[in-house]
Point group: none
Chain length 203, copies 4
DNA sequence: GAGTAATCGAGACGGTACGTCAGGTCTTCCG
DNA sequence: CGGAAGACCTGACGTACCGTCTCGATTACTC
């Protein structure tokens, strides 16, 4: 007996419509911003019925989340970010990655959906957890692994909680980006890395 | 030089209505969340015509911003936070304040409007700048001053950019709170303080 | 040749909603009068979204016009008025019909929408023309035909402009009804008929 | 003891404001029509506070009624209509007056407020009665008197109810004007007079 | 001529309804 | 059956006016 629920049969799903919807939502969030982004506009732009969106996603934030994941997936496919560099020089590696992050935060294409999702996630607990789990956490784990390697190499004090160290590196950057307290620069990223590393260096 | 606008005459403004609106918006944002917060509901709850809100504020976010400012103003009046403590022990002082911040972030009453404003500010540049300037910045300045005193006392390296140090302390906390990567605890705050101070200690 | 407008697809229209709206507007105009008749109240009473009204009618007067046409259509269906009587006695026939008209003018059910439409039509040229064309004119044509038959039978002077004669019969009645100069009675109707007929009798 | 009621002291009334309000309402009803005529706009145009209108008139229709009365008063002052002509020729006299009425009905300046008042009066019983009593009835009485004189002179059958005769003359004209069934011309007026007079001639 | 009482211009206020926009559901028809 | 299309009910938007209610600032009568 097949699933008699109202859940749609995903094997029959139109990949063409799915892509069109994700593309349209990314384009529109850039053009009009998250608040003025509407399901109707996405449907119209994608040449799709509203129901096709409601059938597969619970909210516009969910659409955007999937669109963002597709976006970062695409970026990886283009070879931008296959893994976290490990040259042996933990400071250099962190600075390299953080500078890329700074660039991304300053890149219009990524900024609008990223801000939209972060904001939506801050307000909507459920969405926020999904966002963190699916997009943020995987990225943080890469930092964690690199720091753990450095710790094993004796470049970081053995007593340090690596997880906290990651957040100490990423937190200030995110803070500056979200709150716009000051311009987000490579210099700022470098200084953060240096001071954090000094704070967690072996004694 | 006179105000040639058609802006309303603020000398005739009803303070009673203003308070009722601010109170109602704080209450409602706690009850239903920011997304379901509506101007109509605020007006109804405050016993006020919608126009009275539109006359004085451009958006629900602006109402909430002023409400939050009034809230922190009230808190100050109750003597909660007149200044930043300075016992001479910079680590203890920072930990004390950060723990209070953690408590506030975990306090329902403050959390809903704070999240709402941070999120709205992340998306709406203009509002975000107002929020940062009027609420966030004044708080950060207090940290800055305390750190500068510690610097003068030789507890912090003289070459350190105090502003950046502040963001390194505050950033991780905000990050955890907003993104809900992990529970926000006093321990986390303490660890952040310790590691940052070690990172910026005199050499 | 196709309708290139963005006008709604009338084949998908809900007949149920249409009837509910027309019924509600007739009921409400009787209860609260035309000035206090609101689209919102009609929608609420009809159990319909406001947009469903705005989608199909441009104004509350237009709704009422269609409701009135449906009303007279219903009356005809009930056999009240299929045609103009022709007993051969033009005076008796006119008096019969005019007395019915007087009764209708004095019947609450018809009075409110009729006054409302006449008044609205007096002020709004476009609506007025629609009202006259669709409701008034068809009625006047019946008079005209009966008078023409009488003229052919030699009961009316051949030189008389039948159209003007119709308005001389109907005009005084409408005048009394609208302006409330005096009570509208069967006697008054009879007198009008007698005097007009005498005025247009063969010489 | 003076009147302790809230009724204002008319001796202190500003004649200047009164005229400005009446003028503004006439001008505006011509410009935007009755439906879009608002008290606020009248007040603004007249350079007057809203309360000054509400103090002296109960509704915009009442303002317009007084404005119309002032208007016809002015016309009389300019000698247009001191009395009803009596040349001895009842047909000629009626035609003369009716032609003037036709001209007035076709004169923009009079038309807008006249239609507005007639329509408002048709819907609002109280206002309608005031309108009829104060503007319409005095005019009809002039017709009545003239017809009575004709009756005394043996030009009209002695059994005729003069009042009804007046309405038979005026009714068709008003009907055509309000309902726009056909253009309102001098010819039409003449024909009405001729046929009515024939209908009420001595036998 | 000073005191005082009411009207005046102005416009903020609590409301009601406007006409519009979008949300999410439901139905129809097409491939 | 999935999907495009779009009508439907719902509810909030931001605006326009309503009629009431203060505000000073003129008036214009009283003493």
């Amino acid at each position: 007996m097949a699933d008699t629920d109202k859940s749609p049969d995903s094997s029959r799903r139109s990949e063409r419509s799915r892509r069109a919807i994700l593309d349209a939502s990314l384009a529109l969030v850039g053009e009009v911003g998250y608040n003025k982004l509407t399901i109707e506009a996405i449907a119209a732009r994608a040449g799709v019925g509203k129901q096709t969106i409601y059938r597969w996603w619970p909210s516009k934030a969910a659409v955007l989340l999937e669109a963002s994941m597709a976006l970062s997936g695409d970026a990886e496919d283009e070879g931008e970010w296959t893994g976290f560099p490990d040259t042996g020089d933990i400071a250099a590696d962190l600075k390299h990655v953080l500078r890329l992050t700074v660039d991304q935060f300053n890149d219009e294409k990524y900024e609008a959906p990223a801000r939209a999702l972060t904001a939506a996630g801050a307000i909507d607990r459920e969405l926020g957890e999904k966002f963190t789990r699916q997009l943020l956490e995987p990225a943080l784990v890469l930092y964690e692994n690199r720091l753990r390697a450095a710790q094993a190499a004796g470049q970081i004090d053995a007593d340090i909680d690596v997880r906290i160290a990651v957040e100490m590196i990423v937190g200030p950057l995110t803070h500056r980006w979200l709150q716009r307290t000051n311009p987000l620069t490579h210099d700022f990223a470098d200084t953060c890395v240096d001071q954090v590393l000094r704070g967690i260096a072996p004694r």
